[in-house]
């Protein structure tokens, strides 16, 4: 995925950090067992949030065991074992990764498109299996992706007009983690705000290149200038989403992992925003520097 929905690890308690990593390892292992090693390739911490959320609501305490890892060879790593939540998160990882690759194939050109195509082909059988196990979720994903594509090609909308689709999708994926109508309502809202946040942050990240290549960008479509992406406005909107997500989180009957989940929403995600803004500002300065040098050279040359 994007790797945006992550914790700020230095701010986790030691036991929380161990659990966080064990969740990652558990998810990776579950992917390998359910779908083969190739499915583990694109794994980032985003789906770990979903896993932690689901396990936080589960009745039984998750079991941790040390297992071997291909990357770490000799060393055994702690990994969360069994449970429906892990199967679910692994399947969602596969389906979302495949959907994103499909999007890349459509949007990218040249070698990037080729890479995406081959990756997609590698995931094909895993995707089929995952879709078989969770057909309704696959439908949710496909429907949201196509609705978004249609929106992006149609009349210009407001920011939330575009972000809604991403929000709705993550909301739908988060819903099944709860028991009972009340929890499902809260989970939908929580997922909705996270989905909006991901979409808007991705839009901010892609803004310079999208504008340069004449590709669609929701911020540009909603009338944001490059400057406005980097001043406080957009960051406030992103912060609003994190806070709204947290307001929802606080209404869930969490049995565990509250520290990790709050860290992700209130520290990790805002950090990702600051990081993205800083990177863009650096990029803008570097670009300016390069242009000035060329101009100077030209002027000096002509004298």
């Amino acid at each position: 995925m994007f790797g945006y929905v992550t914790a700020m690890q230095p701010e986790l308690r030691v036991r929380e950090l161990e659990a966080y990593k064990a969740l990652y390892c558990g998810l990776c292992r579950r992917l390998k067992l359910d779908y083969g090693v190739r499915a583990t390739m694109g794994l980032s911490y985003d789906l770990v949030f979903l896993t932690a959320l689901g396990l936080a609501l589960a009745e039984e305490d998750p079991v941790m065991e040390k297992k071997h890892c291909a990357v770490y060879l000799i060393r055994k790593k702690n990994a969360i074992q069994e449970g429906e939540v892990l199967h679910y998160a692994a399947a969602m990882q596969v389906l979302l990764a495949a959907a994103k690759l499909e999007d890349d194939v459509a949007d990218e050109t040249g070698s990037s498109a080729l890479v995406a195509k081959s990756a997609l082909a590698l995931l094909a059988s895993a995707r089929r299996q995952a879709a078989q196990r969770y057909p309704e979720r696959q439908q949710d994903i496909l429907r949201s992706m196509s609705a978004l594509q249609e929106a992006e090609r149609g009349q210009p909308l407001s920011l939330d007009g575009y972000a809604h689709h991403s929000g709705h999708l993550i909301g739908r994926l988060a819903q099944p983690l709860g028991h009972g109508e009340r929890d499902c309502r809260v989970l939908y809202t929580l997922g909705y705000q996270i989905g909006r946040w991901i979409y808007l942050l991705d839009a901010m990240d892609d803004y310079p290149e999208d504008v340069r290549l004449g590709r669609f960008n929701p911020l540009a479509a909603a009338g944001y200038s490059a400057q406005q992406c980097l001043d406080g406005t957009l960051q406030q909107l992103l912060a609003d989403a994190c806070l709204a997500a947290n307001a929802a989180l606080q209404l869930l009957p969490l049995r565990r992992y509250q520290g990790i989940l709050e860290n992700i929403l209130l520290l990790g995600m805002p950090y990702q925003v600051r990081h993205a803004v800083a990177q863009q500002k650096e990029g803008a300065i570097a670009a300016e520097g390069a242009t000035t040098t060329i101009e100077e050279t030209v002027n000096e040359g002509s004298v």
Partner: protein, 199 residues
């Protein structure tokens, strides 16, 4: 009926001070202002009632007296509507109070572009905020203030009263501020350590 000590998250042996502090912290968290116009406001309200009841129960058990000021109800949108569309806006506010957000939205859409005043923009912001469209809601609130700068209701909406308060970075020990180079280098050091040592 849940155990009141569990609700407040304090042991049965907690001191009066500890109980009070736990109550205050929870009341602050689930205060209606934090859930103003939030789609989950009713659930937060339930939480508030639960917390107030728990505090009351414990206080009564221990001292045979005292209690809270009772839970606060979440803000309903009473109308100050005026103008040619005044009647319509009253209806919109009623619909919002009843939770009929889509109906409220549709009703607002019937107002022609030339008639869309400050109140229209404000109510649109309220509707969108309820749907979770926080970015658009902000724009509408700002426009409402621009059109009607003296209206306190609209002004309050833009001053994050309707949005959960403040900045997320101020949470906990908060590694707020810019850059976090210390954290990033700690992160890298940590990763390196995990690679070779303990893991």
């Amino acid at each position: 009926m849940k155990d009141p000590y569990d609700v407040l998250g304090v042991p049965r042996t907690a001191s009066e001070q500890e109980v009070k502090e736990a109550y205050r912290a929870l009341a602050k968290k689930y205060h209606p202002d934090n859930y103003k116009n939030n789609p989950l406001a009713d659930l937060a309200q339930e939480k508030m009632v639960e917390i107030n009841e728990a505090y009351d129960t414990i206080t009564k058990q221990r001292q045979g007296g005292g209690g809270t000021g009772g839970g606060s109800t979440y803000t309903s949108y009473t109308s100050n509507s005026s103008g040619s569309q005044g009647h319509l806006y009253v209806n919109v506010r009623n619909l919002i109070n009843q939770g009929r957000i889509e109906d409220a939205h549709r009703l607002l859409d019937t107002v022609s572009a030339g008639q869309r005043n400050g109140e229209w923009h404000f109510l649109m912001g309220v509707v969108l905020q309820r749907k979770g469209w926080l970015a658009d809601a902000r724009s509408y609130f700002q426009e409402a203030v621009r059109l009607d700068p003296n209206n306190p209701e609209y002004r309050q909406a833009t001053q994050s009263a309707g949005f959960p308060s403040g900045q997320p970075g101020s949470y906990g020990t908060g590694c707020g501020g810019g850059g976090c180079d210390l954290c990033t280098s700690m992160l890298c050091a940590n990763l390196l350590c995990n690679c070779c040592c303990n893991g």
